[in-house]
Symmetry: C2
Subunit: 341 residues, 2 copies
């Protein structure tokens, strides 16, 4: 299987990309197409042992900047960029999936431009799998659509359930709607109007969930608009890192504490591993005609490796076909007879 990797995308490109590609090629037998400036990629590859691994370079001269103010225009104008070329490789069938840690807005634009929406999909959504003490939760949308209609959110719930069910083999995942109270009447207008639509979807909708329920195992999939999802995600990142820093300060406040804390390295390492998003491997864009995974801009080689793994597994588990079938079966048109419509 070929996976196209935008080698110039992230903050640490191409270092993290190449290292992640080498690790993924070795661990999961993926054929990685490294897309970007050939000389830079080759120089980076030379620092790794790559014998027997399937790693190819696809030349792409330009790069879409992480802070590009108009991502959609950049995609139209930079057809030779590493990002657009990566999607083009999926579009023409050379690769079965693509991964980038680059500009998320440009990622979205390139995905829509090259791959188009799955028929019946209102809006594609970016979903992220986050670790919880008892397992994991899929949160979507985390930023693709900042202003949503109820129909979009209802479909996010469907796509999230299908993704989790087929990628993780989790039967009948519980889907919750992020709100500010359990009752169906709680929430803003968008959420209140979404509630009956989610109820009418062929999924295991458990009703509204609250911010605290993201971590307590109540739901497997949590649905929200891209503004709320993005604020939430960055809040989680920020708070987790704040608590870590404060803990470190307390544990190094004097020599005795330092000594005792050194003995507890295993415990703190365990906590860090349980909170580490890296091995959940990037966030799929659900709803376009292709498997594409957006990785965090600050992805480590380990995170890139797992983003490539998730891309491979999405292809192997035919997630795209399952999404197409589900959306076709639960499109608004097929629901004209539901009591809520």
């Amino acid at each position: 299987m070929n996976v196209a990797l935008d080698a110039m995308g992230g903050d640490n490109a191409p270092v993290a990309e190449v290292a992640g590609a080498v690790a993924a090629a070795r661990a999961y037998r993926i054929e990685v197409l490294l897309v970007g400036r050939a000389a830079e990629i080759r120089a980076e590859l030379d620092r790794h042992e790559t014998r027997g691994l399937k790693l190819d370079i696809v030349e792409a001269d330009t790069v879409i900047d992480m802070h590009e103010p108009d991502p959609a225009r950049a995609v139209r104008q930079k057809q030779d960029s590493s990002l657009v070329r990566s999607f083009a490789l999926v579009q023409n069938g050379t690769a079965q999936a693509c991964v980038s840690a680059g500009n998320t807005g440009a990622f979205m634009a390139a995905a829509l431009f090259e791959l188009k929406r799955i028929p019946g999909v209102e809006r594609p959504a970016i979903a992220i799998v986050m670790p919880t003490p008892t397992g994991r939760v899929l949160l979507l949308d985390i930023g693709a659509n900042v202003d949503c209609k109820p129909e979009y959110l209802a479909q996010f719930g469907l796509m999230g359930a299908v993704y989790l069910e087929h990628l993780f083999g989790l039967a009948n995942p519980r889907v919750g709607l992020l709100s500010i109270g359990e009752e169906a009447t709680k929430g803003n207008q968008l959420v209140q109007q979404t509630f009956p639509l989610l109820k009418a979807m062929p999924i295991n909708f458990i009703g509204n969930v609250e911010g605290r329920d993201l971590f307590n195992g109540l739901a497997d999939v949590v649905v929200c608009d891209g503004f709320v999802g993005n604020v939430s995600l960055k809040l989680i990142e920020g708070l987790a890192s704040t608590i870590s820093s404060m803990l470190r300060e307390e544990l190094t406040a004097n020599p005795v504490r330092k000594l005792l804390a050194a003995g507890l390295r295993g415990a703190f390492g365990g906590l860090r591993r349980r909170m580490d998003y890296a091995e959940y491997g990037g966030a799929p864009l659900l709803g376009v005609n292709g498997v594409c995974i957006v990785a965090h801009g600050r992805s480590s080689p380990y995170a890139m490796q797992h983003a490539l793994r998730v891309a491979k597994e999405s292809v192997e588990h035919h997630v795209l076909d399952r999404l197409r079938e589900s959306v076709a079966g639960a499109s608004p048109k097929s629901q004209v007879l539901s009591p809520e419509s």
Copy 2:
């Protein structure tokens, strides 16, 4: 100074309320009017040493339930409830402020019913002060208004700045707008339309901030709609408690870890204290004609004590007068000449 306390409001009422009132009366010389079922309150008071303290009971027969489905109707129908009576004591001048840990929706309804909005205020907002590693941040609205207009948010920024400036003596507080990117063009429609209005306010508006910036000291006041604020607040509570539980699990996983962790009790206690919201003392409802503080439903006696302290300090620092002046000076009418309008 008299502060009316809804003694029947919270999940631990009247135990936490009475204990908090006793502590506050002793520590800050507040005269607390305990509003609720006299027999229950008296029985609870008898368990404390109250000599020399100014604690009075105001009889109120009924209680508005925490899970009341229609809070506004409950307020209209239960004029003899401990909550409505507490507000009535402020309205008729018997008390200078009131505090309740009861139903937030009913709190809002009673505040509007008894005290009315400050002239020029579009919508009152609930603000909460949260600890950060380097100080504190005021987040508003955390749930009073789930669907907002840009004008509401702009005024929240003004009211938050005035509150922080006068309650904490913090000159020129930095006000940020919660969004999903720093640039003025980032965010949903509501946020994009709010940006120029906040810019035109007579405050130190620093632009958009992101979820992670709640904790890094970038802003003193963070503005959002009540839906996003409430989701965020519960997310923070949930994640902080999740991380604590996971840390506890790791530290008690074996006898050696338990022993070492016992030696680090001071460090963990320090972290807990730095993350403790209790001494920030409840959340003021800003924008009504009276000082009123809503405390967390699960408030401890310590949290109730500090909610009473914040009520007292709000009165002493004339926060209400400052809010009235600022809103009058920055009302939409006075800004017809600003370039954004």
